[in-house]
Symmetry: C2
């Protein structure tokens, strides 16, 4: 039995897999972003509900995926905007208190999602992959010869903070022109709000939609407006998609992977985002053979990172 | 005995190493950029000059480094602006005609230079390295866990063609805003020519220097002018260095290597280029631990690629 956990700012998704690799259960529990101890305490009881009268569940290895910069050796979390109270905490000790007999693996959440896609999603059959996850921010993952690239200082695959234009919009990290400042959902909301202040019909339509929603438009609302023919909304996605394509094209020139996987909520806009992305990426790629590298949507959905963390837990056990 | 060759547009450098890894000889022969057969024909005779009366030299493996996109399996060269007549040619067959009893290894020239630096230069002791070679164009190399990253379509490590601003200057590849369009020597010459048309003292100084030289100023002239206090010349290097820093910062965010090595003729400007590069790169890096990653000049000079090709030849033999 192995357990994969994926902790974000609001909840922890989990996937439980038996010895044959079959998924026994999936679910979500609330997370306390200020205190990891608080977040996992009642997980064993909850898992045991599946067991009925049988022996309590003891996962052999628990894989925990977290947003932020992860130190997999010391099982600690560095900079993590979504989990401020978890920064610097010994997550190995926290999990060992809950699962004293289990091994522990810690991994960055987008790395885990990429590993999930590699093992049972859009990346199956490839050994070299790049993933961009367009959520609130933009996270990344890089797989080289079947191994996640974590870097000499746990700083690799921070793909959302490649600077695509030093004069570009301000990013949440404080720099200007990061990919995230165009293609994360915070950036899209901001652009939608700006665009709605315009004078043309498209802007009026966006204002009407925001009024109906009673709040700012999110990327999904914007995609709906675009699908209904609002060209202003389409142009915001075209800009985000083109910048995403610049990043993907650069990554093809650096890494030349077998496939690029685009995941996260913003990617649910589909072709609205992917079409300009592919066009721009292909324009930038130098090596002819790399020009047709597939750029595809993620397949595993919201449980990708928990699935990947579970795979990494299984393989950590197999590897020693 | 192993032979490392590095073929550029004008000449082929060679390094000959004996069974103990000692360098027996280095040198350069002319290259015919339109015909590889023509280029290697008299190499064996030349090598045998070192031998005097002894047996003719038969390298066990010949490592050939070439500028351009290399297919190491088929021993062919793809797109190669400096060696147009070599594109698509079976370089394995060409070399086998000259060295019928030797194994052949083909590698991109900057990859080979990086491998040389890794084995006996600035990258010794590191397993994860990035190299940028600022020559006529800008080439790149990426080493992950002691292996050169070549990519699924021989398109990896084309670091000079990362797009740093889609509105930037036109690059030789046809795109806009590639690193090469700021930090290659063609780009610096162009900027020097533009700058010399100005009205201030700095421009007048550049015009005077170009007149004395009887031709356009090259990066070395520009560095001399900067060293003599010409602020316009310094500002051109500052711009190139800052863009180089943007590229390096992005690469630190993608790969987080142990060290970044800057080589090539343009890099001989030293701190004039490296100081703004380091400043910009460190501003961009997200992971705190990666912020102090050393960004250092290459150490092996013009023979780096031939040395690296020789090491790869030796290791190809050892590996099978």
């Amino acid at each position: 039995m192995h357990l994969g956990l994926d902790t974000g700012g609001t909840g922890t998704k989990f996937v439980l897999v038996d010895a044959d690799g079959e998924t026994v259960g999936t679910g979500e529990i609330p997370t306390n972003p200020d205190d990891p101890v608080d977040s996992f305490g009642y997980l064993p009881n909850m898992l045991n509900q599946w067991q009925g009268d049988r022996e309590p569940l003891v996962p052999r290895v628990v894989g925990l995926a977290c947003a932020g910069i992860v130190d997999p050796e010391n099982l600690t979390l560095g900079r993590s905007p979504n989990l401020p109270g978890w920064e610097g905490r010994d997550l190995g000790a926290v999990l060992r208190r809950v699962f004293p007999a289990s091994g522990i693996v810690l991994v960055n959440d987008v790395n885990a999602a990429l590993y999930g896609e590699y093992r049972q999603g859009a990346g199956q059959g490839c050994r070299d992959l790049v993933m961009l996850a367009l959520g609130t921010g933009v996270g990344g993952g890089v797989l080289v010869d079947g191994k996640l690239l974590t870097g000499g200082h746990h700083g690799a695959a921070e793909l959302g903070h490649m600077v695509l234009d030093p004069q570009g919009p301000v990013c949440r990290c404080g720099n200007r022109g990061c990919l995230e400042a165009w293609a994360g959902s915070v950036a899209l909301r901001h652009r939608a709000r700006q665009a709605a202040q315009g004078e043309d019909d498209g802007a009026a339509d966006l204002r009407r939609r925001a009024q109906d929603r009673g709040c700012d438009l999110d990327p999904r609302d914007l995609a709906e407006a675009a699908a209904a023919g609002n060209e202003l909304a389409s142009s915001i996605y075209a800009e985000a998609g083109t910048r995403l394509g610049q990043a993907v094209g650069n990554l093809l020139n650096v890494l030349d992977p077998d496939k690029v996987i685009i995941g996260g909520g913003v990617a649910q806009a589909g072709e609205l985002l992917l079409e300009p992305c592919c066009r721009e990426a292909r324009r930038i790629v130098l090596a002819e053979g790399a020009r047709e590298t597939p750029i595809v949507p993620a397949e595993l959905g919201v449980h990708a990172a928990a699935v990947g963390a579970c795979w990494l837990a299984r393989e950590a056990e197999a590897g020693g």
